[in-house]
Symmetry: C2
Subunit: 200 residues, 2 copies
């Protein structure tokens, strides 16, 4: 996984003085800024003016890349999907790439200072009436389940079990989001323990 993606996903804001002097192209800056603000403060409560100001571009440049805020929202979800899945797969690898790896991965996520839950679940709550949004959530969760399938032994119904495990993760994520990350991980372990006693 390239450094930039890992940075966006997990790092705390770095010292500007130490930052790479060559700033990325406008589109990338807009997307990164939108990602930070949309994820942290919500989509509807973040105006395009603020993104434009913080990305250091002009309105013309912004609207050249994203004809409407709606386009930016969808691009943000696609961007988030890419960096989250990359991070998730990498983190699972680092912890052994099996069912038991999920716990430390969640730990790493929940206790990251920028954690604010699952961007897709949040977007669903905020604009769950927009079909393009719902579709993106579906895609994201489908791919997440596929990654989880890869952690399961092949002598069981992996698709079913992966779906259940993914639901346990989502339950844990929202619980961590309202301020109970420890309890969330504990509850997740209980649910997984149950899963494991169903797995032959």
């Amino acid at each position: 996984m390239e450094r930039s993606v890992y940075h966006v996903m997990m790092d705390t804001p770095s010292n500007p003085a130490l930052m790479d002097q060559t700033k990325p192209p406008a589109r990338e800056r807009i997307l990164r800024t939108a990602h930070t603000l949309f994820y942290r403060e919500g989509i509807r409560s973040t105006g395009v003016d603020r993104i434009i100001a913080e990305a250091g571009v002009t309105k013309v440049t912004f609207y050249r890349h994203f004809p409407s805020k709606n386009d930016l929202i969808l691009a943000f979800l696609d961007y988030r999907h890419r960096i989250w899945i990359s991070w998730f797969q990498d983190a699972l690898q680092r912890y052994g790439n099996n069912l038991l790896a999920i716990e430390p991965v969640l730990q790493e996520w929940f206790f990251n200072p920028v954690f604010r839950g699952c961007a897709f679940i949040n977007a669903l709550g905020e604009m769950g009436t927009m079909p393009e949004i719902v579709h993106r959530v579906n895609q994201h969760k489908t791919e997440m389940r596929k990654v989880i399938e890869g952690l399961l032994p092949d002598n069981c119904d992996r698709e079913d079990l992966a779906g259940a495990v993914a639901m346990a993760i989502d339950g844990a994520v929202v619980r961590a989001e309202w301020g109970e990350p420890i309890e969330a991980i504990h509850g997740f372990n209980l649910l997984i323990e149950g899963m494991r006693c169903l797995t032959p």
Copy 2:
């Protein structure tokens, strides 16, 4: 549970011609309208003007009861909490008041035409930076867990298990919200099955 609460929680819109002629007081009308719109379309995307118009009150009346939109949002969450918990307890009773009752209760919820996920999880995604909101979510989920505790046998760690079951419910709720209610219930059953094999 009084009829009005059950109506708000579960019924499809009734025929206006058959409705009770004596309309409820202004505050109640505002609260019901806000509940419908906030839940269905999101909090930030619903302007007070629309609530005022659909509740059939004037701005003065509105702002006399709720000095700011923020006050209305918090009142909405308290209102939602009351009607949801009432419905949840009642529904569990109707299906036997044990762990196995949760499945048909979720079924009833997910397939209701007005279902749009958990209002608290949605609010958290939308305005999870506001401490009063986070606090309400915490309160709501704590009470939900307490109700679930009542379904568990007393020869186990009910608090822990109830927390895990509640997380499985939340995972199922968000999955149902993005359009997979059947898979959500199936996954929930798998998770609960695991729980039950941990329960002595």
